[in-house]
Amino acid sequence: MLEIAIWLSETKWSIALLESLYMYPWIESAHVLSICFFIGILLFVDLRLMGVAFTKLPISEMNKKVLPWSLFGFGLMMLTGFLLFYAIPVRSYQNIFFRFKVILILFAGLNAFLFHRQMKLEGMNWDEGKSIPKSVHLKAAASLVLWSGVIISGRMIAYNWFDCDRQPQPEWVNWAAGCIVDLNQMGGLDGI
C-alpha cells in the first residue's frame, strides 16, 4: 500500500495538483461544500427514519426522491476526496486521522447496507403506518453518529501532530499510522 502511495505521489498530475496555487483550494472547497449535499440531505432521510421530520411522507418516498440528492453529494465527495488524496498520497496514507476516517466510512457503508437489506425485506410494512422497528431508528442514529465522526476526523487530517516525520511519537501512534521509523538515524539526530 505504501508503495502505491509513493508511486502515486511521483506521478505528474499528483505533483501538479499539490503545487497548483488554485486547484487544490478549489477542490478542497468543493469537498467541504459537498458535505451539505451528502450529509446534510442524508440527515433528513435519517430523521424521517427516526420519526423526527417528514413523518407524513412514506419512507419509500424519502428513499426514492430525497436519497438520490444525497448520493449525488456522495459522488461529489468521493471524486473531490480522491483528488485531495491523490495530491498528497503518502502523508494522507500515513495520517492517523485519515485512517480512522476510512474505518468510519467502512462502518457507515456497512450500516447503510444493513439498512437497505432490511428495507428490502420488510420496508413495505413501514409505509402502511405500522410502527417502524427500533432497529431502524438505531441504524439511522448510527448513520448520523458515524458521518459526524467522518466530518470531525476528516477535518483533523489537516493537522500534522502525529505525522511520521515528527518523531519521537508514542509507539501506538507509529503503529497506527504505519510509520517506518529509523531508530539509528533518530539516535544520531538526537545525539543519544
Partner: protein
Amino acid sequence: MESERLFNFFDQLEQSFIGEAIRNSIWMFPVIEAFHLIGLAILGGSILVGDLRLLGLLLSTKPINYVISQTTLILKLGLIILVSTGIPLFLSEAIKCYYSRAFWIKMSALLIGLVFLFFIRNPMGLSAVEGNTKLKLIGFISISVWAIVAGSGRWIGFS
C-alpha cells in the same frame, strides 16, 4: 478614522479571554472548527432541501409549505451550532479576519442570507403550496447566497 476604531475593536476581541484561550491551545481551534463543519452540514442540508423544493427539483409533488416547515427547526439548530462555534473561532483570529477579504464577503453574504431567509424565503415558502417562477427565483437566490457564505467561509482559512 472609522477603520481605526474598527481595528481597535477587533484587536480587543482578539485579546479577549476566549480568543486567548483558543490560541494557547493546540486542539481547541481544530475541534471547534470540526463542530462548525457539522453545523454547516445541518444548515446546508436544511437550506438545500427547502431550496431544491422551491426550484421544483425535489419532492416536487409535495406542498412547498410542508417541506419548508419540516426543515425550519433543523435549520435553526444548524444556525445555532454555526454561530456558537463561529464566534469563538473568530475571536481567536479577529485581526486576521479584519484583513481577510473572504471574511468580509462571508459576513456580508451571511447578513443578506439571514434577512432573505427570515423575511422573504421562509414567509413566502410557508404560505405557498405549489411552485411558480417567483418561488423558483427565491430558491435560486437563497441557494446562491448560502453557497457564497459557505465558500468564502472556507476561503478564510486559505488566506
